[in-house]
């Protein structure tokens, strides 16, 4: 054991031997003989023999075994021998006290004339130096990094592999660190921590340096000696300045060496540095700066990933589905930046554990509460006030995190004279609560609740209210180092209501909801160093109330119209294996099999087999009883990812995945509206099926500071839903008569260059992407644009994004965001004609034209308060200008017939520079 110490502490030894001699001054000689004695035995022996008294920390010495034999040597020599090869130091003062310290030696005497006179205090025992907190931490860190950790029972045989597992936590908050890379270099074996901060790495038995790297955290390493399976808990420190980095990938090496492709991970620190509209950090807007992600307009929260519709994204918040992540008609997303930890967007290479949506997965994870101390943070922007409180309920075991955000500027409204505003109201709030509890080393419990609420009324008599709620509970059980399971239960509900009471005779209230209850059991098995197997099953029960229209008030003559509820059940099993054939070649292969049933009770209309589905063609109505299957669909969803390393710094990856989607949003507006309805697949609306292949090339340069990636993809989509001209979706008892079955294709290439570190960092991306739909049928009413492929509303071929961040100092940084994209397709009038006493418009084929190109530049300056660790409150200011150039980007182009003549207009939303100031605090 001493041998081992010696190897790693050569430098320290040199240092030691130079300094200790001056301190060792006593001259009583002793003779000792120890053979594998414990430190305590040695101490009691020496105390008896010399009359000295030892002071030491038992935890520093419990692993010491001392074998030493000397004759007539002084105490100093004995101690020196004893501690040689360790990082222990000793000091002896004039009162026969011996202080044993670790890592840093102490002086037992003050320097001469320390107090200005050399008579007093000479005899005082002066203990250690007052290390500054920072130095202390650095010291501790050095210590844990250099100490050798023995993993497992010591054996002499080092044959075979062993599995090391544990959790990686934030040293300050005790929170799990997700996506940290844990690896050894020779041979190169690495894993990433999962969503719980858990890692499990299987290595050949032996001696290694285990390295840990993560975004926003200081890299660290551990010296390990692996004898058998064992545990190692690791705490990481936060980077001292949160301003330093804009990093969008958990680790520099992951992009090239990881198996995953088409995935972007953004952590909240990155997002907070980006200049944004209205002073709010908004993850949906940040995601839009990534290649392959588009939106139809700036006032909408919907994102279109690689040519998919916005409802084809699975948006998860702590594993619970979010149906409408928008506030204020879509100007904000509902995710409170203060409670978020990170966001992962999967564009391709989606693993088998995800299912249910066609296009992409946006996995939003919130933080866990601080396990060590209470803290609060918050901020004020022109629109919202927000506050987050967190802390331990049971120290080191149970923590909570509560976040709330709301509009606060009610008083400003009253000061505005504009009538339109006086009649208008718009408010929102959102709440988050997370509780995590460590039952014991093997069991953890996580509870998450989320709610968002919106209310608005815009200069009209109709008021809108919508709300998204979800909750999830997760139980993680570790069977052993190699196998763990997570049992998840979740509930999500989205509902809205529209109400009008201006005319009592027509006063009504319209309500809608979709809810789902889901359960899921996932297993993660680290079979061996080369194989990680994931498997699981899940079930989702859907219930939709497609519309309830009811009179409001006594006088109302409105006839109640209640659409029958829809029920559905989606179940799936999956298994996947991450297999490393060789350091160069890794493969993930998985398969998911999903099974869906649309269930009664419900009436189903029957249409003639040939001919179009029109309300006038309804032949019959069939009643399905409760629990009876109206329609059943099932299918396999294979997933495959392959990575081949060309060199240490370059790789190519390929992936294929098939996805199936059984619930869709029906919206014939360009932007998502709060009152869009969701619809389950049924007898007529078949489940959407999408296939995507993608191929990518990845390279890091300049010592891993610059990443380059190039990805191409081709996608086909079946059974998409498009709409007949003039389709009516709300309160439609036979919606199948208003929709058309379409198929889609999308393809594109994404190029990205990124510099993650240094004073100047950021990324630039260029995306070429096309997406088309085709609706073809024998019935002309179910055909769009004569059955030819036409661009979908979010087909924007060229997009360029530039995100730059320049750090002037630790307290001051400047960010810039530039976005260019081709204008989205629209339908424009070709001619005008007279009808009904006025000019009317004759429109082109669907999506034949485009609105003007989009270009915007935003800047923001972040000023942090000073970085003193022991301040009561830390604060920062963000000054940002959205749309610096004031370009009047078109949101839409439209024509209206007014007073008998046709006028063309362009609507811009942020048509001027929008300056904002945001104040953030934390204490």
């Amino acid at each position: 054991m001493f041998k081992l110490y010696r190897t790693c502490f050569t430098c320290m030894l040199l240092f030691l031997s130079l300094t200790i001699h001056s301190i060792a001054q006593q001259s009583n000689t002793i003779s000792v003989s120890y053979n594998s004695s414990s430190f305590e035995q040695v101490v009691s022996d020496l105390e008896e023999k010399t009359g000295h008294r030892f002071y030491y920390d038992r935890s520093h010495t419990d692993s010491l075994e001392i074998s030493l034999s000397t004759q007539h040597k002084d105490l100093g020599f004995v101690l020196e021998q004893m501690f040689s090869g360790t990082d222990m130091h000793y000091a002896i003062d004039n009162h026969k006290n011996i202080f044993i310290t670790r890592g840093r030696e102490i002086m037992s005497n003050l320097p001469l004339d320390f107090f200005g006179n050399n008579t007093q205090h000479k005899d005082d025992v002066t203990a250690a130096f007052d290390y500054s907190a920072y130095e202390k931490r650095e010291k501790q860190k050095k210590l844990v990094e250099s100490r050798l950790y023995n993993i497992g029972q010591k054996t002499t045989s080092l044959l075979g592999n062993a599995t090391l597992a544990g959790n990686i936590k934030d040293a300050t908050t005790g929170e799990a660190v997700i996506g940290a890379a844990v690896f050894i270099e020779k041979p190169l074996i690495g894993v990433a921590t999962d969503q719980f901060g858990f890692y499990s790495i299987t290595v050949p038995k032996g001696r290694y340096e285990l390295k840990i790297k993560s975004i926003g955290m200081k890299s660290t390493q551990r010296q390990i000696m692996v004898y058998a399976d064992g545990k190692l808990e690791i705490e990481l420190e936060q980077e001292v300045t949160p301003l330093k980095e804009v990093v969008i990938q958990s680790d520099k090496d992951v992009r090239v060496m990881g198996l995953q492709m088409g995935m972007e991970r953004l952590d909240i620190k990155t997002m907070k540095n980006m200049p944004l509209a209205l002073g709010e950090t908004d993850i949906m807007k940040v995601v839009l700066t990534l290649p392959g992600v588009q939106t139809v307009g700036e006032g909408t929260v919907g994102i279109n990933v690689r040519g998919g519709a916005s409802n084809q994204n699975l948006i998860l918040f702590n594993d619970a589905v979010v149906y409408n992540p928008s506030h204020l008609f879509g100007f904000f997303s509902t995710f409170n930046p203060d409670v978020l930890k990170n966001v992962e967007l999967y564009k391709s290479g989606i693993t088998a554990d995800y299912g249910g949506r066609l296009s992409a997965v946006l996995d939003v994870t919130s933080r866990e509460g601080n396990l060590k101390k209470f803290s609060a943070s918050g901020g004020l922007s022109p629109i919202t006030g927000r506050i987050t409180v967190e802390g331990p309920i049971i120290k080191e075991r149970t923590s909570f995190l509560f976040g709330a955000r709301s509009t606060y500027s009610n008083w400003i409204m009253r000061r505005l004279d504009d009538e339109r505003l006086q009649d208008s109201r718009a408010s929102f709030y959102d709440l988050n609560l997370n509780i995590s509890h460590k039952i014991n080393d093997k069991n953890n419990l996580y509870l998450s609740g989320y709610m968002s609420h919106d209310n608005f009324k815009l200069a009209a008599d109709t008021s809108y209210r919508y709300s998204d709620k979800n909750g999830s509970i997760k139980w993680k059980h570790i069977f052993n180092n190699r196998l763990y399971s997570v049992l998840t239960g979740g509930f999500s509900r989205y509902d809205y209501s529209v109400e009008s009471t201006a005319n009592p005779v027509n006063a009504f209230i319209l309500t809608f909801y979709i809810q789902q209850i889901n359960g899921k059991l996932d297993f993660n098995y680290y079979l061996n160093a080369k194989n990680t197997i994931t498997a699981g099953l899940s079930a989702v029960r859907y219930k939709i109330s497609p519309g309830t229209f009811q009179p409001k008030g006594e006088e109302s003559l409105i006839a109640a119209d209640v659409l029958e509820h829809e029920q559905g059940q989606e179940s799936a099993v999956y298994i996947g294996d991450n297999f490393e054939f060789s350091p160069k070649l890794s493969v993930y292969a998985g398969i998911r099999y999903s099974f869906y049933q649309n269930l009664g009770p419900r009436n189903v209309y029957i249409y003639p087999a040939s001919g179009s589905k029109e309300a006038s063609n309804i032949q019959d109505t069939v009643r399905y009883g409760a629990g009876k299957a109206i329609a059943t669909y099932h299918g396999a969803e294979p997933r495959l990812s392959v990575r081949y390393a060309l060199t240490e710094h370059a790789s190519v990856k390929f992936s294929y995945n098939r996805m199936r989607q059984y619930v869709q949003m029906l919206s014939n507006t360009t932007a998502i509206t709060p009152t869009d309805i969701w619809k389950l697949s049924d007898r007529y609306i078949r489940p959407q099926v999408g296939d995507q292949v993608s191929l990518g090339f990845y390279k890091t340069m300049r010592n891993s500071t610059i990443d380059i990636s190039l990805e191409g993809y081709y996608k086909t989509m079946e059974n998409l839903v498009d709409f007949k001209n003039g389709a009516r979706l709300l309160l439609n008892h036979h919606i199948e008569t208003d929709v058309v079955n379409a198929k889609g294709k999308a393809y594109g290439a994404e190029f990205m260059i990124k510099k993650s570190t240094g004073k100047l960092n950021g990324w630039m991306s260029y995306t070429y992407s096309r997406t088309f739909l085709q609706a073809k049928s024998e019935n002309s009413s179910e055909t769009v644009n004569q059955g030819k492929y036409y661009p979908s509303s979010y087909d924007k071929p060229h997009a360029v994004n530039l995100i730059g961040n320049y750090k002037f100092s630790r307290r001051f940084n400047l960010s810039i965001n530039m976005t260019y994209s081709t204008g989205r397709p629209i339908t424009l009038p070709l001619a005008q004609f007279e009808l009904g006493g006025s000019s009317r418009l004759y429109y082109s084929d669907r999506n034949r034209y485009r609105i003007p190109d989009y270009f915007r530049t935003d800047v923001s300056i972040n000023v942090e308060g000073n970085h003193k660790v022991k301040k009561l409150a830390h604060s920062s200011w963000t000054f940002a200008v959205y749309n610096l150039t004031g370009r009047q980007n078109a949101y839409s182009v439209f024509f209206r017939s007014e007073n008998g003549e046709v006028n063309g207009y362009k609507l811009s939303i942020f048509a001027q520079p929008v300056p904002t100031v945001t104040y953030n605090f934390r204490f």
Binding site: T407, A426, Y429, G726, L830, F833, Y842, Y843, A890
Partner: protein, 382 residues
């Protein structure tokens, strides 16, 4: 933390301040689409049928008139009896004194002079209940007019309204004398230029339904808005509202046409599209626009006097176009060379009682009410 349900509007203010709508015409649109437009209607109340045929025009074209002349237009009863309409003015085809059978179905047959032929679907004629009342309510900036109706037969669920407004207005000053070839004549009552009546037909599509109501009642359907202080309500205003029941198909057509041509421009618009009516090409898939419908029409007229307005609206009068400062004078000896269009106000005699030395006059827009629209003839119903 503020209470959750606080309203905000700074945001709205931002959007309204920053957001902007500006006039815009994309360059790309220069298609020379020339599509036949058919607007056909059978009126069973006065037993007439009117069909307007025209062609669509370029968006930028200022000439909206592109009538289809010399076409053959017929209405065919479902038993194949045909009635031919005759062209009264360019592109307008009419048939009068017919006895349409409310129980029968009719279709429209059009053959253009180029020989292309078009046929409409068979339509049902609708009975229309009477208008219960036309009412108005004062708002902050003016008055809003509403229509009310109900169908005791419970047959009509879909309605369309059209209206014609008429208002009386005056010139700023009164011209009492006229000049004919240098000679001054006092104006008789019949050639006074002071008082005018202007009429205007509705240009918006006004459709409503009782589909979602438990009884067939239309209550307070907003028809139009008159801004306070404008010339419309400066003396006396009248509106005649015509009500017509629609079939469900006709309602869908007009309501979609309304959305497409009047309702766009919000944040959550649906995509506009080509709206197909109930008229089809016989020969090929040539596009034809428009609609053929028919039924009874009921109407009601109301008057609103300036004196009926609440005080705050009456006080909102726009300043007169001209006042005394606009009055000029002309000497007697200059009159013979003055044009006949010179409008004279009063004779000038100085000092009082002495012979006339000249006349006062003013610009035409101060004296002739027709410069603000309308005509001098009082309508029959006034």
């Amino acid at each position: 933390m503020s209470r959750p349900d606080h309203s905000i509007s700074l945001f709205l203010a931002l959007v309204i301040m920053c957001g902007c709508v500006e006039s815009y015409y994309p360059d790309e649109i220069s298609s020379a689409a020339r599509v036949l437009v058919v607007e056909g209607h059978i009126n069973t109340t006065d037993n007439t049928a009117t069909v307007l045929l025209s062609y669509s025009t370029d968006l930028n074209s200022t000439d909206l008139q592109a009538p289809e002349e010399a076409a053959a237009v017929k209405i065919e009863r479902e038993d194949a009896t045909q009635y031919t309409l005759s062209e009264t003015t360019a592109g307008t085809y009419q048939l009068e004194g017919m006895n349409f059978d409310l129980a029968a179905k009719y279709r429209l047959l059009v053959t253009t002079k180029e020989g292309k032929s078009f046929t409409s679907d068979l339509i049902e004629l609708t009975a229309t209940p009477p208008i219960d009342s036309i009412t108005w309510k004062a708002e902050e900036n003016g008055i809003r007019l509403y229509g009310n109706t109900h169908d005791p037969e419970k047959a009509s669920k879909y309605y369309m309204w059209k209206y014609e407004e008429t208002w009386e207005h005056t010139a700023s000053l009164v011209s009492r004398y006229k000049l004919i070839d240098g000679v001054v004549f006092p104006r008789e009552q019949e050639d006074m230029l002071y008082q005018c009546w202007t009429s205007q037909k509705s240009t918006q599509i006004l459709v409503g339904n009782t589909e979602r109501l438990s009884s067939e009642v239309i209550s307070d359907f907003p028809l139009t808005f008159i801004t306070g202080g404008t010339i419309r309500i400066s003396r006396r205003y009248s509106i005649i509202v015509q009500q017509q029941s629609l079939t469900k198909e006709a309602y869908e057509f007009w309501s979609q046409l309304q959305t497409l041509s009047e309702g766009l421009g919000g944040l959550f618009d649906s995509q506009p599209y080509q709206l197909a009516g109930n008229i089809h090409s016989n020969d090929n898939n040539e596009t034809v626009l428009g609609y053929f419908s028919g039924g009874a029409t009921t109407e009601q007229r109301i008057f609103i006097n300036y004196q009926d307005l609440p005080g705050y609206l009456a006080g909102m009068r726009e300043p007169a176009i001209c006042d005394e400062d606009d009055i000029q004078s002309i000497d007697l000896e200059d009159l013979p060379s003055a044009p006949n269009s010179l409008l004279l106000i009063d004779p000038i005699s100085s000092p009082a009682g002495s012979p006339i030395i000249g006349y006062t006059w003013a610009e035409t827009y101060c004296l002739d009410c027709r410069t603000q629209g309308g005509g001098l003839v009082k309508p029959d119903f006034w």
